[in-house]
Symmetry: C2
Subunit: 146 residues, 2 copies
DNA sequence: AAGTCATGTAATACCTAAAGTTACACGACC
DNA sequence: GGTCGTGTAACTTTAGGTATTACATGACTT
């Protein structure tokens, strides 16, 4: 199954937006993502509605981040996408009559819930600013000395 | 996207097979799963190759479980499926040049790895016999007294 | 030996949601 | 008014699990 790449794409875009004051157009962002301007507008709509970014139309318009990077968590971004399914597996019959199937479903559901809680807890504590810090550490030596 | 239901289906089938000595045909299993005999043979192929079940052809043939339920873990079943992706999300560019994208990928990968380890650890310790036990607890009162 | 039952497997079509594409309305600036 | 950019709808593409059909192979029954 092709993975859902929207979360990582949004994080990527947000961190670039945090580096500049001039608005970025959907076209520019699409070029950065190797994607399409309409796709960019679509996946950014949630961030706009959540107040994390602002979009302006017309000449000199585009997208700007409207919060500090330590005020946005990965969970915020995930929720802006509508909290899509995290897992690729599940069960087919939500309310089976078979007792065995009920237990299997409960077992699988238990694993999924436990792992979901763990991931969302990571997302909740992970701020954009922390990823920014890691970018600094990833910088080549010649630039780290600045 | 529609979830991968093979793991839960296989667990369901294995527990039914553990309750009887007579072989179950793919057709019977398919009826149980609301599926198709060819689908059953396809998803069971890994279990057969792993020695967890045996298939016999011809009259009186079918599938039989070839181990005790406390000798099979959910992880065994998962691996028999070829260890399919657990997560529905990921990143598009595996080796990006952009430093920011590298950090985002590393962040996402970290969350996925942590959660994967947690799930696989659960799968490793979860035996079919434990699900069987839960089935007993799920039994109606009139039957639990037996 | 023939017929039936069941697995093994290939080929093909279906389903779903993200992703890509196209088109056009709306609004802002020159 | 013309251009630039967002907002959004409609449609196509894509990928993988799932469903369906078909047929070869092997085992048992008579």
């Amino acid at each position: 199954m092709r993975p859902d790449t929207r979360l990582s794409r949004l994080l990527h875009v947000l961190l670039h937006m945090a580096q500049t004051d001039t608005p970025m157009t959907s076209q520019q962002i699409a070029g950065m993502l190797g994607s399409n301007a309409a796709v960019v507008r679509r996946i950014m709509a949630g961030l706009r509605d959540g107040g994390y970014v602002e979009a302006e139309r017309g000449h000199g318009g585009g997208w700007r981040i409207s919060r500090c990077t330590d005020e946005i968590t990965v969970l915020d971004v995930y929720r802006s996408l509508g909290s899509p399914d995290l897992f690729a597996f599940g069960f087919s019959n939500p309310r089976p009559l078979c007792l065995i199937e009920q237990s299997v479903n409960a077992t699988i559901a238990g694993s999924i819930e436990t792992a979901t809680a763990a991931i969302l807890e990571q997302f909740r504590t992970l701020r954009l600013s922390q990823i920014e810090t890691e970018v600094q550490e990833r910088m080549p030596q010649c630039k780290r000395s600045n």
